[in-house]
Structure formats: structure tokens, C-alpha cells
């Protein structure tokens, strides 16, 4: 495991000025995957944009973690529907 690909939750709290409980609650609800390496918690760099999105929604729009869960679920549905829509549009070209 390459540690350079991970950011410690401690660093995240410091840089983003968020409480550790916020990261903990994101992890508990399955919104962000937190891994433990040598008694230190980390999140993978690839998940940073997801974390940033959650932070924005929570702090800027004052949406609680339960709301974030619902949003995440609905956004996944939106993404799937957009993909399906794109595929169907491409298919429709066959008949035009």
C-alpha cells in the first residue's frame, strides 16, 4: 500500500477546518471509506473530490449526514439515468 496515495483524516480536519466527528459520521454511513494504517486513519486521494462535495453540501447548504446519504443515493440514480439517456439517444440515431 502506497501511503502517498492517502491523506490522513487528521490532515483533512486541519486543512478543511472540519471536525473529526464529521469524517467519522461520513465513514459510519458509508459515504466515505476510511482506512486504518498503523493506528492512523486515512482516506484515499481518489475519494477526495467526493469528500469535498460532502463538505460543501454539509457546511454550505447545511445538509445533515442523513440528507447527504439520500442525496448520494439520488445522485447515483441521476447518473445512471443520464447514462441510460445517452445510450438511448445514441440508439435513437439508428432510426433517424
Amino acid at each position: 500500500m502506497n501511503l502517498e496515495e492517502f491523506v490522513s483524516t487528521h490532515e483533512l480536519c486541519e486543512r478543511y477546518r472540519v471536525e473529526h466527528t464529521f469524517i467519522r459520521s461520513l465513514s459510519d454511513s458509508g459515504l466515505i471509506e476510511v482506512v486504518e494504517i498503523s493506528h492512523q486513519e486515512y482516506i484515499h486521494c481518489d475519494k477526495l473530490s467526493e469528500f469535498e462535495k460532502m463538505r460543501r453540501l454539509h457546511y454550505d447548504l447545511e445538509i445533515n449526514v442523513e440528507g447527504l446519504e439520500a442525496i448520494q443515493h439520488l445522485l447515483k440514480q441521476v447518473e445512471q439515468l443520464q447514462k441510460k439517456n445517452r445510450q438511448l439517444r445514441n440508439r435513437l440515431n439508428l432510426y433517424e
Binding site: Y16, C45, L48, S49, R56, L57, Y59, D60, L61
Partner: protein, 310 residues
Amino acid sequence: MEFIDYYKILELDRSATQADVKKSYRKLARKYHPDLNPNDKDAQARFQQINEAHEVLSDPEKRKKYDQYGKDWKHAEQFENAQRQQGYQGGGYQGGFGGFGGGTQGSYSGSFDDDTFSDFFEQMFGGGRGRGGDSSRQAHFKGQDFNAELHVDLRDVYTSQKQTLTVNGKNIRLTIPAGVEHGQTIKIKGHGGPGIQGGPKGDLYITFNIINNTPFKREKENLYKTEEIDLYTALLGGEITAETFNGLVKLTVKPETQTGTKIKLKGKGFPKYKKEGQFGDLYITYKVTMPTNLSAKEKELFRELQKLRS
């Protein structure tokens, strides 16, 4: 450059209190926030307008200036000069246009391009946008993600291609994988904006707009084409030469082939995305063409054939 009605954008009237501004902003921001409206450019544009309107109306000094000059904002500087000459000392701000640097409260952050304010705003309040509130929360770790649209010909995505793109003045060499679909977005990791305080760079998202000028229709990795055959080949069978995406092939047409008959040429379709060496199929639909301008002899023979059938 047109006057922008910030009250209209926030769905407020001019007597709105600061609490009303905040309430309306929060309501509209929740509706149009780009995180909640992925791939919706209209929502993003609306969100930028809302942010800009909030930037002005939530700041008492900016709002005062905006209210004072309104549609005459273009002449504001002239008014101010005239007032200064008359010894006017009021106004509560100094330096005319561009003099505002103070922060407003609670503008929403984002990795999206929300720092783009209108020319109207820049002209009236200067480029120094005050992003206030809890400024520590604006400390982005990861760089900004960039979005770009790439127009390519269908023939160009039949094989993997190396291309150099210029994004924000930087040349980026990338390999476009064969078989990419129209409307598909791919992520080029680390080619977005620079990270802040040593953080990783953002990513570049490229959406493909594939232009099809070929006689083939495409659905994912399968191709479709209509091939015309003459009546006699259709009735008696024979050989034709058909075009595939990568060359010509000889096809045997069975006797008594009907119009609309579909045949499959396995592996003659489009490459499968990120599955090297694997291809979809080509479906050919036969369209039987009828002879025209029949001679007297041909007509006679066809009548004879007709009699044989009746």
C-alpha cells in the same frame, strides 16, 4: 454589457431585508447547487448568477452602491467625480469602482467554476471579489477539476489515438481509447488545476462529441448498414461486394432474399471500449431495388412470369 437585476435573480423585491436575502439565497442555492445538478450547465450558470447576486445584495455597501446607481451604473463614475468636486463626503466607501475589497458572508464554495462573475459585476465592483465568511473553509486541498468537450470523427475513434490537447494554455498529450462513445466522459487524472498547499492536482474530464459522416450507424460496439441489391441477385442469389468499416468484403446473397433481410458479419463492427482486439458485429440489412425504365421485351417477360405465378 447589460444591467443585471440582482433582485430578480434572487426573486426578491427592493425592500427585502438581509434576512430575506439570506433566506432566498439559501433556498435557490439548494436548488441550483452544481453538486446537486451534475452535468447541468444551465443550473451551474444559474448558480453563478445567484452567487453573484448574493455577493452584492448581502453586502450593505455593495447593495447601497447597486441601489444608488441601478440602471445608470455606467455613469456611476461620472456621478462620483461630480460629487467629489462638489465636496460630497458621504457614501461610506472610498475609491470609486473597484474599491470594494471587503468580504461578504457565506458565499458557497465549490470545485466548480464559481469564481466567474459577470462583466457587469467586474465593472461595477472591480475584480477583487471578496470571498468572506469562514475563509478557512475555502482552503481547497485538491485542485479544480476541468471540463472540456472534444469533437471527433467516428473514424478517428476506430483506433486508439494519441492527441495533444490545449487546455487552459497547457498542452496535454493523451490517448483516446478506441471505441469511445458519443456523449461519454473520460477522466484524465491530474490534469486539472494545481493543488493548494501541496495537494494533488484536479482532474480533466473530457466529453466526446462524435460526428458520424459515414454510411454506418453505430450502437455501442455494433454497426448497422443498409446494402442495396438488385432484383435479380435477390431472386437468383449471387455475390456482392460490401463496404465494412475497415475495408471491402465479398458476400454471398442467398436466392430469394427478401428486402429487410438482415445478416451479421461477426467481428466487423466497432472496437469494444478498452477491450483491445475485441470488436462488435456489423449488421447488414438488404434493400432490394426494383428495375426501372423497363423495355418492351422486359415487360413481356415479366408478364409471362406473372402468368406462371397466377
